[in-house]
């Protein structure tokens, strides 16, 4: 079906011919709100209600068996005085930041490349996106096996890895988590950039070519600025995703060594489902949502309010 212009909703209604074959011809059947209600109710029950409940439970003490009891600010003051909690929050932010820094340039390059029209592109990009399909569980189990100090790759390359127990040191464990996240999520962000890079008008490149701009200059002066909005979207998704990483930590490091990789989402699980302190867990969960929202807002503000700033922002 060829559609030359796609009018927006309002215009569409105005364009409807007012003179037809009688009154009945004008009444386009429109679905009422009833069509949306089942989905809305279902979603409210299983997502919105729990979101409200998490706030309520953060002021309660509950061990999972007896009825929750109101506990005032106990959970919150408990968190403030818990050194592991502070550390875990800092770790979450650190890991998220490192993830953004490693994944964004890679994803932009991959996405722009995949948006081109080289030969073999279809086949290669099919392989590139495989990590996107694997569950976080499968990814973590795979990497843990690969990095196993006795039977994995480090045991084969001791000249590179020393004793090979990468997950046994703080730096090692953090690097592994960043590496695995990059492996797993870069394809998804590359997809975002691929879509956006396809939408850049060809005219811009033609004009630049006439001006004699090389590939690198065209990339920095046309492609990157045009990808601004995608950078924002992608970074926000990385922040929310990074702060809520859970499976990877549970399987790869169990928060260790010690509590060195015990990021907040994992600490929340630990408190609630291992130590059965569900009130404390709820408080951490709520804190995470707040932090993720605040960082997202900051990203939007920093990147959205000074449009005249350089072309490399967001990198």
């Amino acid at each position: 079906m060829v559609v030359l212009t796609t009018p927006v909703e309002g215009e569409r209604q105005r364009q409807r011919p007012r003179t037809g074959r009688g009154p009945s011809a004008h009444t386009v059947a429109r679905p009422g709100i009833g069509w949306a209600l089942p989905a809305a109710l279902f979603f409210t029950l299983f997502a919105i209600v729990p979101l409200v409940l998490v706030a309520v439970l953060s002021f309660a003490s509950w061990n999972g068996l007896e009825a929750p009891r109101f506990a005032g600010l106990d959970n919150w003051s408990g968190l403030l005085h818990d050194p592991v909690m502070i550390k875990s929050l800092w770790l979450s932010v650190l890991l998220t930041g490192l993830g953004v820094v490693t994944q964004t340039p890679l994803a932009i390059l991959l996405g722009v490349w995949a948006a081109g029209r080289q030969r073999n592109r279809a086949v290669l990009s099919a392989v590139f996106f495989v990590p996107l399909l694997l569950s976080a569980t499968a990814v973590s189990v795979l990497w843990r096996a690969l990095l196993d100090p006795n039977f994995g790759v480090p045991a084969q390359a001791r000249w590179l890895f020393g004793d090979g127990n990468l997950l046994g040191s703080r730096t090692g464990a953090i690097s592994v988590l960043v590496l695995v996240a990059t492996w797993q999520f870069t394809p998804f962000h590359a997809l975002i950039y691929q879509g956006a890079a396809r939408a850049i008008p060809e005219v811009l490149y033609q004009a630049a070519a006439i001006d004699g701009a090389g590939r690198v200059r065209r990339f920095f002066h046309i492609t990157l600025p045009q990808l601004r909005n995608s950078v924002i979207t992608s970074v926000i998704l990385m922040v929310v995703g990074g702060l809520t990483t859970f499976d990877t930590v549970l399987i790869l490091t169990q928060g260790g060594p010690g509590t060195d990789t015990s990021i907040s989402a994992y600490y929340m699980y630990q408190k609630a489902f291992r130590e059965f302190d569900f009130g404390q867990g709820a408080a951490i969960a709520l804190l995470l949502v707040v932090v993720a929202t605040v960082i997202s807002l900051i990203v939007v503000r920093i990147s959205g309010y000074d449009k005249m700033a350089g072309t490399k922002e967001g990198m």
Partner: protein, 259 residues
């Protein structure tokens, strides 16, 4: 090119390991080419309960896809075509829902599901998993439905079609692309889900593949070939779907980021 290596290398090690025996793997190491070829790692996984986990995951996935297909098309239809303000509000609710991570609600979810008597029951996993698929699916499908031109709706109105007929004879057939995307997306979410099953189930009978993998790792951590064979097993259906529905999936995901 570097990325190709980075992606392919772990996959190569994984596949190589799964066809070797455990002893061979530990003496030759992960980088050596397999010298023998056997599928005993795979058959062994099946005798370790992976058949049941497979079945459970299949049930969860099919049900989640079913719920999504039942709820999202009418929802998107109403959002795109309804003039009622309520529909706009409902759309905002779902847009807001995009930002809710499952981790944020897992504690109260445990509470709700236990209270509903669905703890350690696959239904208790299916319902929240489906709910968390809805926002993205609604976004994808409203995008598709907005591309249907107004003239078509008018043509059907002239024929005196009811809303229901418009939906089934015009909107649904023309949204096939979007429908395929949401099927693939929700199937992938359900198949790969970990947190909800981890927290909301307990017994061996309700275990899904991802949990099976996790437990297998903690229990038989040394049997790397067997473990990796289990990883491959859990992934094969996903890869098959990807081969057939790559376009639908990739375009749908691209749309989510691009819009």
């Amino acid at each position: 090119m570097l990325w190709l290596g980075l992606v392919a290398f772990p996959l190569y090690v994984m596949l190589g390991a799964t066809v070797q025996s455990r002893i061979e793997y530990s003496t030759n190491g992960p980088l050596s080419l397999p010298r023998s070829f056997s599928l005993s790692n795979y058959t062994q996984d099946f005798s370790n309960g992976f058949g049941l986990y497979f079945l459970n995951t299949l049930i969860v996935t099919a049900s989640v896809v079913g719920i999504v297909l039942l709820l999202v098309p009418p929802l998107a239809f109403s959002i795109v075509r309804s003039r009622s303000r309520g529909s706009v509000r409902i759309f905002r609710l779902f847009l807001l829902g995009l930002a809710i991570p499952a981790q944020a609600v897992i504690v109260p979810m445990f509470y709700v599901i236990s209270k509903a008597g669905l703890y350690d029951n696959l239904i208790g996993v299916i319902l929240p998993t489906a709910a968390f698929c809805l926002p993205v699916c609604a976004l994808i499908l409203t995008g598709t439905m907005r591309d249907i031109t107004g003239e078509l709706f008018e043509a059907m109105a002239i024929d005196g079609a009811t809303t229901r007929r418009v939906f089934f004879q015009l909107v649904v057939p023309l949204s096939r692309g979007g429908l395929a995307t949401i099927v693939v997306f929700s199937a992938l979410q359900a198949w790969n889900g970990f947190l909800f099953p981890l927290v909301l189930t307990q017994s061996e009978e309700t275990k899904v593949l991802t949990l099976g993998l996790y437990n297998f790792q903690t229990e038989h951590g040394i049997d790397i070939p067997g473990l990796l064979a289990a990883v491959v097993l859990s992934t094969v259906p996903v890869l098959l779907v990807y081969l057939f529905a790559r376009r639908a999936l990739v375009q749908g995901l691209m749309g989510v980021g691009g819009k």
